[in-house]
Amino acid sequence: MSRPSILQKIASSAAVATPAPVARQVRGLSDRAIAWLFVTPTILLLLAINIFPLIWTIQLSFTNYKANRAARGEKFIGLRNYERVLGDADIWISLQTTAHFLIWTMLLQVLLGFGLAWLLNKQFKGHSFWTTLILLPMMLSPAVVGNFWRFLYQPQIGLFNYIIAFFTGADPSSFQMLGDVNLAPWSIVIVDTWMWTPYIMLICLAGLRSIPDYIYEAAEVDRASKWRQFWSITVPMVLPFLMLAVLFRAIENFKMFDLVVELTNGGPGSVTELASINLKREAFEKWRTGYSSAFAIILFVTVFGVANIYVKALNAVKQR
């Protein structure tokens, strides 16, 4: 919004009355000039380091270029890379792995995160201290944390196995979280849930705190049961917050790379090879640049499309 007209009138009348160089000094830059001066560097940076590479990726996805054999040049091959990606069984398996990871992490984190927020909202003594303690894991470096969890998951010496064995009586070397094809997909779900439950919790907590007391008081007057109050007041009012949290986390987990690379690096075999890890192998180990560019575009379009649909749903919930 441009500034109030009185100011402009003062400025322009001053400009008429004074010689040009002085007037320029008095007025300084116009609002419009400042607006563009302030916004342009950011836009240019994003164009150079985000949009230009994205366009380049699109261009590469139509070629057979290989970055490790740049001298060979590139040939336009139309949509063949896209056909190959969509017909590649490995890609579909990695997308299934990603879906499994995404669904379970979101489910566990929503249940745990909402539960914790609900308990924290009872405002017991010292709740603020415990909240801060619970929040710590999500701020740490996923790669470093993932690497360290590999140590906790060691079959014989790892703390995780020891604790599970302690409570179940099983032999701590009888199961390998990272080495077993059935357990490895769960090992990444566990670490991600440990790390990111606090995220959902914090946002749900904000949702719970936004519910004014008088709504509950009115419900008490109407003799609504606690159970009724929970389902017809608490849940609907927290839902927009919860959906926002799930949106952010789902986008991040769809792109998940660092934590899982350091934890399992896609193994054993390829049972934890998420889409991003598969993409990295194609692009930076097999150097199939054109092919992996096509895959990258497909992934980006998927995230972007799903996120847009989700935002629409979110707005619908908010307006209710």
Partner: protein, 312 residues
């Protein structure tokens, strides 16, 4: 909204407290374990059952900062007596210090790239956020959404052309290249967060200043900036944490000169893959600053993690 449930029964509160504290204690175990392992000897770190009580040693910290070579007992006897406590510690393992490890340099890279990109993103972000907050800009909402959408791209997807582009421009594995890249990733967060903070500063302040003869630019510098200090500081810490923790780009685009600590720490593991105390020591040094920052940021955390969408 301080007392959310005024009719809550006291035992309900106690049960809630018990469950939350149980979760907090369980979830903090891995972090305590990292910290403790850093002070164990390699033997203690891989003993079964896991040792809760052990005699602490600085070996992990010495190992993370040095490279060592194993020597024969005959050679060890020819050496003059050790000059420092860490020399002594290494010799007790029949090794001598060959030189510093790369850890210090990788850590320094993390600091340089972290602070460099944080400064740039906050600088550019403040300018853009002010403009978005105060001026009529054509397609403002679309531009803001465009800025946010750059964050949705999987890093690996843009890593391919950035890798090619940096190779052409000579920016591959340089501090400048990484600073620019992290700035581009952080700027969306910086603009969104700072716009929220600047929106909260009443326009009347600037208007009053401009009536007093300040130009638009002067009123931005002398009125708005001082008011936005807290918001700028909080935003800066969020940007710093992101750059500090970033892994994918660092792994794919750097190999030596500009490599940051996250891709390096896992490689500390050393001969036989058993030097967990050194890994833990490196991880501890790397994670501790973030713990402090998190505590400092506590009040703004919610805002930061939701791009300013949720404020308290």
């Amino acid at each position: 909204m301080s007392s959310a449930h005024p009719h809550e029964k006291p035992w309900g509160k106690r049960l809630a407290a018990g469950l939350v504290i149980l979760y907090a204690l369980v979830s903090i175990i891995p972090l305590i374990w990292i910290f403790l392992t850093g002070f164990k000897s390699p033997q203690d770190s891989i003993s079964y059952p896991p040792k809760m009580v052990f005699s602490p040693t600085m070996e992990g910290y010495v190992n993370v900062f040095t490279t060592r070579t194993r020597q024969t007992p005959e050679y060890m006897e020819t050496l003059p007596p050790p000059e420092t406590w860490y020399d002594e510690l290494v010799r007790s393992r029949s090794m001598v210090i060959a030189g510093p490890s790369k850890f210090g340099q990788r850590f320094l890279n993390s600091i340089i790239i972290g602070f460099g990109s944080t400064f740039l993103s906050v600088f550019l972000g403040t300018l853009a956020a002010y403009a978005f907050s105060r001026f009529k800009i054509p397609l403002k909402d679309d531009l803001m959404f465009f800025i946010l959408s750059t964050r949705m791209m999987p890093p690996i997807a843009v890593a391919i052309p950035i890798f090619l582009m940096y190779r052409e421009l000579g920016l591959a594995d340089t501090h400048l290249g990484m600073i620019l890249l992290y700035t581009a990733v952080n700027i969306s967060l910086a603009v969104w967060l700072l716009k929220g903070f600047i929106d909260e500063i009443p326009r009347e302040y600037e208007e009053a200043a401009m009536i007093d003869g300040y130009s638009r630019f002067q009123s931005f510098r002398k009125v708005v900036l001082p008011q936005a200090t807290t918001g700028i500081a909080a935003t800066a810490i969020f940007c710093l944490i992101f750059s500090w923790n970033e892994y994918a780009f660092a792994l794919l685009l750097t190999s030596g000169t500009a490599q940051t600590a996250p891709p390096f720490i896992p490689t500390i593991i050393g001969e036989g893959g058993l030097d967990w105390p050194a890994v833990a020591a490196g991880a501890t040094l790397f994670l501790v600053p973030i713990v402090f920052f998190t505590i400092m940021l506590r009040k703004h955390l919610l805002r930061g993690i939701t791009f300013g969408a949720v404020r308290k």
